[in-house]
Symmetry: C2
Subunit: 250 residues, 2 copies
């Protein structure tokens, strides 16, 4: 428990629609001499998964609605991009000062519903978040389990901004094989006193850690984390979503 | 750049007021055979620093003001604890449903102004955040630089909750020796397209990563992170604070 190792795979291909990310990860691991084990978790950037799943939209083919046109004018954004963002959203949280923050159909609150232009090949194309990031994570986990015998926890990550704090951090938007929030309520601290309010967002810590070796300027979208002891569990990333009724900041 | 290693020091003492955290870290590193290098960063939990700095208050000696008594009754909290929290705060952000979120005098927005009961020895004692976490980080950095010749980046971390997302994550509240937010604006992605809106909260990623091996139930408050190439810079943690005028969620 006193040492963790993070390894970014460096020989992954540029992913294209129809690719199998789990198989590509296995092949890269083989080429790079990575040794699978029971103490291994994987963090996979959303963009790689979205490309494999064909979650790419060419803006030129998008017809913006009247709502999208109004909002685009207000925010000084591309109406076609705003149309795509609105299609990916179930609720607008804020639309001010050039910033469009929405709640996606999955329940994630983030800028532009996760629709992103960077690191997308092809003129005028954007990626969407995967339709079901938990399913994407499960598929990768199952491929690796089938081929290696190890059922590693998998996180699908994206980089989100935060209220109050500057800068983006990588967070989890999909998980497989482990509980994304570790509940320590009822346990005791090093002094033997009961811990208060101590639910740890392990999936977000994994994502943030991996973010350090997933440079935005490069192409290493998969990181293996070794050394954690994570209890296997069936779980969903929506355990990371604070219910609206309990949230003081919407 | 493709591998990171995180090591939690396991032979640190229980810190007491007057202890020098930098020296204690050097001694633990020596005992544990840790090899300092230029590619090493340190994450130190706030609680260890606060104990060394004597930032501990015994609640029995606190006289709650009328404001603290009213707020405590509303939130069903201990009036003495609320008094301490208000003293640590410059602004109340939310006080509802048993939750007290304030802006500390340093500018951090968090629950209970970072005042915490867990892992504090002594009946009825709480820790406060260090008075100047950047200065705490600088002192540790300078001690290690003086003794080893390596000027490692240092993060002072605490675990904060977040709007919208469940669970706590470790974040940075003090830094020394590096820019806590890495600004990639003007750089290009793997496709050669300019990156948009890409400021990365590196200090928070370091803190979150270290959080994985700083269990709340144990006592390993210092983690070394090796393998990152971080440019040395004079910097302050308030670069992580989103100015109120740019924040849509206060």
């Amino acid at each position: 428990m006193n040492e963790l190792r993070l390894t970014a795979f460096e020989t992954l291909p540029e992913f294209r629609p129809g690719d199998d990310p789990g198989l590509a990860i296995l092949e890269a691991a083989g080429r790079e001499g990575f040794i699978w084990s029971g103490g291994c978790a994987l963090v996979v950037a959303q963009k790689a998964v979205s490309k494999c799943e064909g979650a790419i939209v060419q803006l030129a083919g998008v017809s913006p609605s009247a709502d999208a046109q109004r909002l685009a004018a207000k925010l000084d954004k591309d109406p076609q991009l705003v149309e795509v963002i609105l299609k990916e959203s179930r609720l607008i949280i804020r639309s001010e000062r050039g910033v469009l923050i929405t709640e996606t159909h999955h329940g994630w609150i983030c800028a532009n519903a996760g629709v992103d232009r960077s690191n997308v090949p092809g003129d005028d194309c954007v990626t969407l978040l995967p339709k079901d990031p938990d399913a994407s994570a499960r598929a990768i986990r199952e491929t690796i389990l089938r081929e290696t015998g190890f059922g590693c926890p998998v996180v699908i990550s994206d980089t989100f901004g935060r209220p109050w704090r500057m800068g983006l951090v990588n967070v989890a938007i999909g998980v497989a094989g482990f509980a994304p929030v570790v509940d320590l309520r009822g346990e005791v601290d090093a002094e033997g006193a009961p811990l208060e309010a101590t639910q740890i967002a392990l999936a977000d810590e994994l994502a943030a850690a991996a973010g350090m070796i997933m440079p935005k300027t490069g192409n290493t979208p998969v990181v293996a984390v070794e050394g954690l002891s994570i209890r296997a569990a069936e779980a969903r990333a929506d355990q990371l979503q604070r219910p609206a009724a309990q949230d003081l900041f919407r």
